[in-house]
Structure formats: C-alpha cells, structure tokens
Symmetry: C2
DNA sequence: TTTTATTTTCAATAATTATTGAAAGTTTTA
DNA sequence: TAAAACTTTCAATAATTATTGAAAATAAAA
C-alpha cells in the first residue's frame, strides 16, 4: 500500500465514522482529505480527489470553515481559494467538541430544564422530574468530561492524574 | 403542562437528540417512553403511545434489548410480553457507551492501526503515519476518559479528583 | 390436534437526507 | 466597462435510511 492508497482509505474510514456520529459523510471526507494532505487544495482539487460536484465541494468547505477546522489560504499568482486543515488533532477535537456543544448540548440542557415546569401535584410528577434531573446531571457530567480531557492534554500534571485513574 | 404532555415532549426531544448522534430516532423514542413510564408496556402500548407500526415497535424493542437498555417482563394472566427500561441513568450511559465502543471504536482502532502498514520509504509517508498515530492517541484517550468518568461516578475518591480538574 | 394469540420477518414504500449541476452572483483583470 | 475567473445558491434528483403492514412463524390454549 502506498501513501495515496492509504490516504484514500482513511478518507473513506473517516467519512463512515463521521456519519455514524451524526456528521455529514462528505464533510468528514473533505476534512480527512485536507488533514492528510501536505499542501493546500482548491475546490477543483477536492472535487477531483473525492469525485464530488462543485456545489458539494463548496458547501462542505464552507461548513468546515464554520466549524473552524479548515482555513482559506491564497497562493500568489492564483485567483482560486485554497484550503488547509488545522493539523493539531487536539485542537481539532476541541473545536468539534465546542461546536457540537454549542449546537446540541446547550439547547438540550435548556429544553430539559424547561420540562421540569409541570404540575408537581399530579401523581407521577415526582418520578418524572427525578428522571429529568438525573439526565440533566448526566449531560452536565459528560459535558464537563470533554473539557477535562482537553485540559488534561494541555497539562502534564492533570495528564498524570488522569493516567492514574486508569 | 401535565405529566403526560411533559413525557411526550421528552420522547420527542430524546428522539431528536438521539438521531443527531447517530442513534435511530424511533429507538430513542421507545427508550425515552419506557424510561419515563411507571409500569411495563406491551408492544401494543408502545404502538399506541408513539403511533408506530407493530413491526417498528417490535424491531426497536428487540434492538433496545441487545443494547441492554430494556428488559422483557411478564405479567401473570397475560400472554403478551411487557418491557421495562433500566432506570439508573448512569447504568444507561455505561451500556450505551459500551455498545458503541464495541461496534464502532474498536473497529476504528483496528482499521487505523492497519493503515500504518504502508511503504514507509515513500515521500510523505512519515507525515501520514504521524497523523494516524495522533488520531489513534486521541481516540484512545477519549475512550479511556469515558471509562474514567463512569468509574468516577462510582467512587468518591475518583469523583473528588475529577472535580479537582474542573 | 386445532384454534387463537402473539411475535417476527421482510419486500414494498415512505420519509429523510445528501448531491448534483446549471444559473446567478461576485470579484478580478484587461 | 466588459469579459473572464471563480464562488455561491438552490430546485431537482438521487441515495440512503426508516417504516409499514401483511404474511409466516412461533407459542400457548382449548
């Protein structure tokens, strides 16, 4: 297997993995392509590499820019836009986490919290509220966990503690 | 808002949230329904509550049993099967984590590891392998962290340490 | 055994989600 | 200013994924 083949396999792998976790497959593929590409790529390069349409390539690079996972760069003497990915994988993880938190976790927390505004006198209300509170606690803990992982990575001290917990 | 309305809203909420994370929407709804239901429900009860077909109800309860999130129970004098959910939300989280790990993370790790078997002499191979290794490290760390959080919940000592990291 | 109740399967269909590609829009160059 | 180069949009379409429902299978009762 040469590098190109390995890269193609990685692109497929990452696309499938992404879609299992609710991330658009093609977006994940574009990301994987840029992650493992040495130099900046234009929309045409991406279209060619992934056999996708111009529209699709454009939409996905724009979305990846919103997620802060890729950047636009320009080459002197070329009018086209080129794109490069953030290569620090921990930075990548942090940004994906941040975006999903903002889009999904925060609204979920809000919604759950509002669910507790029900007639507390009614039979069964207590149990229901308890369940919602337990879920709220779970979500918060998971949320905190992601912060902790990221923080641990940045700190030798916390990192050592985390490893102790294994 | 009464309990029933709140429950219905929760079912919708959980279904949407699940599908954003790659979990079948109806399966998440059946789970939410049973999670917030006081007594065991039959397939007919579930069909009625969620307005879904018999086939759908059956497929989803079976799948939830594979995930170990619900159990079959029987009522004396009734031939039907009834279902109840595991109500301990931490247990629920652990089981979902375990299942996704088994189905997705383990295969991903294997696949990533195999990607490193390429001609290392080729130009660019070093960078590619480095990227794959960084991703492997990230996946492992995320994986380990989920164990740690679950463990922390069960242990005052670990819990205290995790809180320190906040 | 036969009937009845219940569960399971799965081909057909519906619903959802992703993708295309050509037209419109924008920016740069001549 | 007009033409060329490039980017963006979005209605139409394709691909994927979820759902139905009726028939087959299974299990319990008569």
């Amino acid at each position: 297997m040469n590098v190109k083949e390995a890269q193609q396999e990685f692109v497929q792998l990452w696309g499938n993995f992404g879609s299992q976790w609710g991330i658009n497959k093609t977006m994940a593929q574009v990301h994987a392509l840029l992650l493992t590409s040495d130099d900046a790529m234009s929309t045409d390069d991406i279209m060619e590499a992934l056999s996708i349409s111009r529209g699709g390539a454009n939409m996905n690079v724009r979305e990846l820019m919103v997620w802060n996972l890729i950047y636009k760069v320009s080459k002197t003497g070329d009018r086209k836009e080129f794109f490069v990915a953030e290569k620090d994988i921990w930075e990548v993880a942090k940004r994906i986490t941040r975006e999903r938190k903002r889009r999904e976790i925060e609204p979920l927390k809000l919604h759950l919290s509002r669910l507790k505004e029900l007639d507390k006198k009614e039979k069964g209300a207590g149990d229901f509220i308890q369940m919602v509170e337990n879920i709220e606690r779970l979500v918060s803990r998971m949320d905190l966990m992601s912060d902790t992982v990221m923080k641990a990575e940045e700190s030798a001290f916390f990192g050592a503690i985390i490893r102790l917990l294994k």
